[in-house]
Subunit: 248 residues, 2 copies
DNA sequence: CGGTACCTTGAGCGGCCTCAATCAAGGTGG
DNA sequence: CCACCTTGATTGAGGCCGCTCAAGGTACCG
């Protein structure tokens, strides 16, 4: 019966202290006792199927969510229906920070593959962070990091050309995957061309064309969602230097 | 001598409890005693001349700053020198939240007119927020609001056409000015066309042309930096509805 | 008065979008 | 097993929006 719920709850109690993501996630800098206090607050983890919503925009905000396994996108919509993907989240990354502001989520969070998240009831986190200064500090840092990340996306959307955006996107993914122990130059895209385009402010055809172009130049290998980075330095040159500066 | 310092310090001690901005700024929801605790933490206010930097990107982060009077822009730069204005701040708005993340400011903050700010030493704010739950909560909300704001800018930069961006920009300014008691439909731009363009992901010529276009249509009146909104509904239609929906 | 910063307007070009056709992969039912 | 549909990706052709380059114009200021 519990296996057939629409929103199945994982029966195993999760534990930060034993989680392989603790270096990437919330518990950074906590000692053992503080960690076990944190454990008492974390709710059971929740499993989601591909395509399932973790939360909807407008929904009442109760909890933050940390990705344990899987892959998510978050997106905002304007009044007239236009949609913008605001980010892609992988293991150890937090979702829902936008909801604190008004008490309602301001974006949708959708699983791009079968995933598992930890639920962090916010008011309990808030109380706990008063007793654990390093947790409070880490929380402030997390939110600040999100602001910095958003500012960099603004820079990308405001200044960069299509090729530069795609290069920056691939390199960003590569970097995040490698800090999680995955291959930096050989990975599977979890999102569609349209979702990449929505995130980067491009149409899906432009994304497709640009990937093809990179492949023709021998910089990457594309096989549907399977991407291999062949000449990372050339990709980096595209975004950090002017085009006339040739690699090394 | 103090008047001729490069970074002059205003000699008057500021006080949140007597500040006309207290409904817009940090003290929201504090009782009298909490407010006086906050007062002890706020440093002397600092005056800046037009064009002066409040902080530079890369500088060590010590304090947040709240605008008392005047007008600021914040901007980030990419490695190859491209610059993106990430926001304009007016009275009661906070700057520096991005610095918490790494301990260094990640953007520049520059006064667009002679201005005055309150300095909020962050580690003292952090300590104080442990004793005043409503202050802690308000801090979380402020940071979250910044995240939501950035997401909306991302939506603008990723989805909107030039006319829509300009309309959204004017309406946003109008709204913020009116909550501060200024006229909503008659104001002076504090920033140049180029700065508007940088914020909106457009070139200054496009900004200028679009403003002229709006004027020709009788939606606004433009006299250099003096802007009057004549047909607010038409501007709103431009962004929220499809163009065929005419406002009654 | 000359100098400078800023704004406006025009002409032409180019990058990305739009529209559309084709193709591959996966699911379903006969 | 194949016919059929759906979904997503690729590729082409053409058009438009915003950029680039350029030439004034205007306000401010030493």
């Amino acid at each position: 019966m519990s296996e057939h719920n629409h929103i199945p709850l994982h029966s195993l109690k999760v534990s930060c202290s034993s989680c392989s993501l603790r270096e990437l996630c919330l518990p950074v800098g906590l000692n053992r006792e503080e960690m076990s206090q944190l454990d008492t607050v974390i709710r059971q983890s929740r499993r989601l199927k591909r395509g399932e919503y973790l939360f909807h925009s407008g929904e009442s905000f109760k909890s933050l969510f940390a990705v344990r396994t899987g892959f998510f996108k978050t997106c905002v919509a304007s009044q007239d229906g236009r949609e913008q993907v605001t980010g892609f989240q992988m293991s150890g990354e937090l979702m829902g920070l936008d909801g604190i502001s008004t008490g309602n989520h301001s974006c949708d969070a959708i699983a791009l593959e079968d995933s598992e998240v930890c639920e962090l009831p916010f008011n309990r986190m808030e109380t706990l962070s008063r007793d654990i200064p390093s947790l409070q500090h880490h929380f402030y840092r997390l939110m600040s990091r999100e602001i910095v990340r958003d500012q960099n996306v603004m820079l990308l959307l405001g200044n960069m050309k299509a090729e530069e955006r795609i290069a920056a996107f691939l390199l960003n993914l590569s970097q995040r995957l490698s800090t999680r122990g995955f291959a930096a130059n050989d990975f599977i895209l979890r999102m569609s061309r349209e979702e990449i385009g929505s995130f980067l402010g491009l149409k899906l055809e432009t994304v497709s064309r640009t990937l093809s172009k990179f492949q023709q130049q021998g910089w990457i290998a594309v096989d549907h969602k399977h991407i291999q980075l062949v000449k990372v330095d050339d990709l980096k040159n595209l975004i950090s230097g002017c085009s006339h500066a040739n690699g090394h």
